[in-house]
């Protein structure tokens, strides 16, 4: 019985031991704490007290979920478009243009991405039509072709009468623009810019250009009238374009909803995109002595790492790390790996870090259980010198005119070809004043290990 009487004296020591055990850290505990902290920060946003940043974020997401106010579709019905929309032959054959545009019109008419849809035929000015009317014109040919329409005049009308917040104008045409006299050809760019920015009042104007080719059965009117029109044309395919004009945000949403799946060529001018999700990945093709340098690195949610702490780097033992990028929201042009390899730039201060490679996600990365499964592209960075102090590092995607524009441009369209007269000059006119603006900038930090 002696031990029973003296046992209580041992209790404090045992109690201390027991207390120490559950005091341990674990990652799941920390995540729990973090989640608790998150709910704490969310609570004020839910209460009526206005919380400025939360409200702004909410407004932005609300706007993204809202459909566009209106879509105005303009189909050019001048004589030069007749070949795309020939009257249906006895065999019922049609052109690629008819197939594609009829389908697109139907999609626009049905889309939930816009509230109001309006359809217009462009002669010397836009004439209101209905979906049935326009679709019928595309399918069974132009009944009364208009005289050639002047592109700057059309753009001017679109800008002055149909440019509204949340509204896009879709212009379907061959965009063969011939100035009245040959002396005006060097000024095509200026003419287009003038038409779009008559008052300079639309700083957020954006234009997306989609290029397609179609077989063509009819009379071909080159821009250079001296070459003369070609009847019973053509053996080659002729390009036609869809231009989407409007405020940058509306154009981006319309592109994503309706034109992104289409297989045509594309170029974008002045469209802005939200910054893609990105993170440094510490266990994906990593090399060398470095680790996440973010504060509280072990308790962060995956996908929010921006700081690379380098403990050792030399030419023999270089540091390599991969930045995962989710470019799912960007148009296809910017997701193209070849484009990214050329135009994704890494800029740092006081470092020899350089971009080794850009790769797209593979089935293997998508099926992985690691955080790399969330990303569509990976940028690998190598450095061989340890940073002396915390230094910024920026991944920047330059906006570059796609190569197809030059390939589709001709200076003499007398001979029908899948090229358009002075296309690059036309598109030059679309480039916004701050054309050097990058598509996105992703800041990172390099620092020595502490």
């Amino acid at each position: 019985m002696r031990y029973l009487t003296s046992f209580p004296r041992l209790l404090p020591a045992l109690g201390l031991t027991l207390l120490l055990l559950p005091g341990c850290y674990s990652r799941s505990d920390m995540k729990g704490e973090e989640a608790a902290a998150d709910t704490k920060t969310e609570t004020p946003a839910a209460t009526p007290t206005p919380d400025a940043p939360a409200e702004a974020a909410e407004a932005a997401s609300g706007a993204a979920a809202q459909p566009l106010q209106a879509v105005n579709v303009f189909l050019e019905v001048s004589g030069s478009m007749e070949g795309f929309m020939p009257k249906t032959g006895a065999s019922g054959e049609n052109t690629k243009f008819q197939q594609h545009v009829a389908q697109l019109l139907s999609e626009i008419n049905r889309t939930p991405a816009a509230r109001k849809k309006a359809f217009f035929r462009i002669k010397e000015k836009p004439y209101a039509d209905t979906y049935q009317g326009i679709s019928g014109t595309v399918r069974s040919g132009i009944q009364q072709p208009a005289k050639s329409t002047e592109l700057p005049a059309v753009l001017d009308t679109l800008m002055t009468r149909y440019y509204q917040p949340g509204t896009v104008s879709v212009l379907i045409s061959d965009f063969i623009y011939s100035p009245k006299n040959a002396g005006a050809i060097p000024y095509i760019k200026t003419d287009i810019t003038d038409a779009l920015q008559r008052n300079g009042a639309q700083p957020d104007l954006a234009v997306s250009v989609y290029g397609y080719t179609s077989d063509f059965r009819g009379t071909y009117y080159p821009a250079l009238k001296a070459a003369g029109k070609k009847t019973a044309c053509c053996d080659t395919e002729i390009p036609y374009y869809i231009w989407v004009l409007g405020p940058a945000d509306a154009v981006r949403r319309f592109d994503a909803a309706l034109l992104e799946q289409q297989s045509g060529k594309q170029a974008h001018f002045g469209v802005t995109y939200p910054r893609p999700a990105y993170s440094v990945l510490d266990k994906f093709q990593n090399k060398g002595a470095w680790y996440y340098g973010d504060a509280g690195a072990s308790k962060r949610a995956a996908g929010s790492y921006r700081v690379v702490a380098v403990s050792e780097a030399s030419a023999q033992q270089p540091v390599e790390f991969v930045v995962g990028l989710n470019l799912g929201q960007l148009p296809g042009q910017y997701k193209d790996v070849a484009y990214l390899k050329q135009n994704l730039k890494l800029e740092g201060v006081d470092t020899d870090a350089r971009l080794l490679d850009v790769t797209a996600a593979t089935d293997q990365t998508k099926a992985s259980s690691g955080p790399q499964s969330k990303y569509t592209h990976f940028a690998k960075v190598r450095l061989t010198r340890q940073p002396k102090a915390a230094r910024p590092l920026v991944l920047r995607l330059q906006d570059q005119r796609p190569v197809w524009v030059a390939q589709w441009t001709t200076r003499n369209d007398g001979t029908p070809a899948p090229k358009t007269f002075a296309l690059s000059s036309l598109l030059d006119g679309l480039a916004p004043a701050d054309a050097a603006r990058p598509i996105f900038e992703l800041p990172l930090t390099l620092q020595p290990a502490k």
Partner: protein
């Protein structure tokens, strides 16, 4: 506290692979340190105060009995390291076993230290191990 344990466990070198450094520093080192201190103290309390005082066992107070507890303590420290690294899902690396060995050595050190401090409180083993 974190800084102390980080110093203590990085005496054998930086964690490997380097990518797991934040997990080791923020989670595993403090866990190991606290568990090791707690377990060592507990073992000392069991040997001196429970067995050799409260229970009044008279035949378990020799140096070899103390050594059994010392060895047991080292083994627990080793196993705890393996368990903690597995629980935190760090990358497999030989460093884990170096760390476990180092933790076992530290465990023996704490056990010795607590023994010196607490042996006088024991009735039957106040002169064990010396």
């Amino acid at each position: 506290m974190k800084a102390f344990f980080r110093f203590l466990y990085e005496l054998i070198g930086a964690p490997q692979p380097p990518a797991d450094t934040p997990v080791y520093r923020d989670v595993i080192f403090p866990n190991l340190g606290l568990l090791n201190l707690g377990v060592s103290l507990g073992m000392v309390v069991v040997f001196y105060l429970l067995i050799n005082r409260a229970m009044g066992v008279a035949t378990f107070n020799k140096g070899r009995h103390w050594a059994i507890f010392l060895g047991l303590n080292a083994l627990i420290a080793f196993v705890v390291t393996i368990w903690q690294t597995n629980a935190q899902q760090v990358t497999d690396h030989s460093y884990i076993y170096w760390l476990a060995t180092w933790n076992a050595i530290l465990g023996m050190f704490w056990f010795f230290l607590f023994s010196v401090l607490l042996k006088r409180a024991s009735t039957n083993a106040s002169t064990t191990p010396f």
